[in-house]
């Protein structure tokens, strides 16, 4: 390239480059229709916000992203350790050190499937819906089987270790089982601290039907 042209050529090149930038989405988007869209893009274009449930719910957390596969195993070993540690760190133990509430209120929470759906009233407390997946009281026959039976859970006793383990498991099950199918009842704000205490009592109180 001759020097005489250089001064002119630079701004020209820049403007050509800018034009290319402005134009680039067109051929690209034509190619994109053959390119697979991300699952998130498809969900977003296929859903509408309804009542109190917005499209932000489609955005995944790092944990959800890592667990979105057919094995329920985080592929990357280093990430696995990080996520599990994060889950453990997420657990907030009760401020007053008291783990056990009222088992009768806990029973109502365990049977209540309402909460956080677009047809639920956001002003009413959420349920825990434990019975959807777990057997608890032998008197309740309408229990699900996705999770293990928790019948007689209280026979494990009420040692500090047992209380902490159970609390953490309900708060964020990924602390023990990464990619668990169970919701993060504490971490995701599904149940309040008092509700968690009541569910704890339902599991651990010797007077609870779970342990009869």
């Amino acid at each position: 390239m001759k020097n005489a042209y250089f001064k002119l050529a630079v701004p020209l090149l820049i403007s050509i480059a800018l034009a290319a930038c402005a134009k680039s989405p067109e051929p690209n988007s034509a190619n994109k229709s053959n390119e697979p869209k991300s699952a998130e893009q498809i969900w977003r274009s296929s859903m509408k916000a309804k009542n109190h449930v917005g499209l932000d719910r489609i955005t995944q957390t790092e944990l959800q992203k890592a667990c979105s596969n057919n094995s329920d195993i985080v592929a990357n070993e280093a990430q696995r350790a990080v996520l599990q540690q994060q889950a453990m760190n997420s657990v907030a133990f009760p401020a007053d050190g008291n783990y056990l509430g009222d088992w009768q209120r806990g029973e109502a929470i365990a049977g209540d499937g309402k909460g956080l759906q677009w047809n639920d009233n956001p002003n009413e407390p959420n349920g825990g819906n434990c019975y959807a997946c777990h057997e608890l009281s032998p008197k309740e026959v309408a229990y699900g089987t996705i999770g293990p039976s928790l019948k007689n859970y209280g026979m494990r006793g009420q040692s500090e270790a047992m209380l902490q383990y159970t609390w953490a498991k309900i708060w964020n099950p990924n602390a023990y089982t990464l990619c668990s199918h169970m919701p993060r009842f504490g971490d995701a704000g599904i149940l309040t601290e008092q509700q968690l205490k009541d569910v704890m009592a339902y599991l651990l109180d010797p007077a609870s039907p779970v342990n009869k």
Binding site: K48, Q60, Q64, S68, A132, P183
Partner: protein, 270 residues
């Protein structure tokens, strides 16, 4: 003339109160027993009749019926169409399920606006049924006994399956639920409701072949699209739109997994 009442008298709902009482029965799917008792009797027959009328009736600004609507096997061919949907359509260059295809025919053949076509595809509680529900019931019934055979030829049909698979495992929302949370294991249930494993031929076949279905608890026919929208709600996600890309992709994933199962819709469900 002798008129005699034969002892075959059935009333839906007489035995509904028995459900959930006995756990031993619950293990063995009490509803299968109920269905057997009902035999061929399914209130959906009336919805199907209504759908057949709607298929033939002129409608919309163009006063056209659906009889030129191409469901994949040629204009107006209904028999066997449901068992091969979703599939790729050259005219829209898209993979479409039955509901999105019906919207398309409402717009192109009948001249109805997209808003009007999509106004109310699914009944609310207490409603008497919708046009889409009746049409889907009629069209699905014309595939009864035929094996589910979704085409996987066109690149977009193959892409829809892959997309459906990735949507199936996508975890999101406050509960971290994906479709797979409930539908990837066999022989599991929520409360007393058995869950089909949609990743297996058996589970996907049982689910795919039985929708649309008359839901006795609601007194209505519900479509598979409606069922998917309910799944999305239970996942705590926003409202899944009928005929949307996610629905079409997930249906393709299910339908291809269900390959060969004989269609048995309209079904009869709880």
């Amino acid at each position: 003339m002798i008129i005699k009442r034969l002892p075959k008298l059935k009333v839906i709902g007489l035995c509904l109160g028995l459900f959930g009482v006995n756990s031993a029965i619950a293990q063995d799917d009490p509803f299968a027993e109920y269905r057997a008792m009902m035999g061929d009797d399914n209130p959906a027959i009336f919805v199907s009749e209504e759908g057949a009328d709607l298929w033939q009736a002129p409608n919309g600004p163009k006063q056209a019926s659906f009889e030129q609507c191409d469901l994949g096997l040629g204009p107006g061919i209904v028999e066997g169409a449901y068992a091969q949907l979703p599939r790729y359509f050259a005219d829209t260059q898209q993979v479409m399920d039955l509901e999105s295809r019906l919207f398309y025919c409402m717009e192109t053949l009948q001249g109805r606006s997209p808003e009007e076509a999509r106004k109310k595809p699914y009944s609310s509680t207490g409603d008497m049924g919708t046009e889409i529900e009746a049409l889907v019931t009629y069209i699905a019934e014309q595939s009864t006994g035929m094996p589910i055979a979704l085409p996987q030829q066109h690149p977009l049909e193959i892409a829809a399956y892959e997309q459906g698979k990735s949507l199936f495992y996508y975890r999101a929302g406050p509960h971290d639920f994906s479709c797979a949370t409930c539908h990837r294991q066999s022989d599991k249930r929520i409360r007393l409701q058995n869950l089909p494993n949609l990743t297996t031929n058996e589970g996907a076949g049982a689910a795919y072949s039985s929708w649309p279905a008359y839901r006795i608890s609601q007194g209505l026919v519900r479509t598979m699209g409606w069922r998917m929208q309910s799944c999305g709600r239970q996942q705590r996600l926003p409202e899944l739109q009928p005929g949307s890309e996610a629905v079409i992709s997930l249906m393709t994933f299910m339908g291809v997994n269900a390959k060969g199962t004989e269609m048995a819709a309209p079904g009869l469900k709880r």
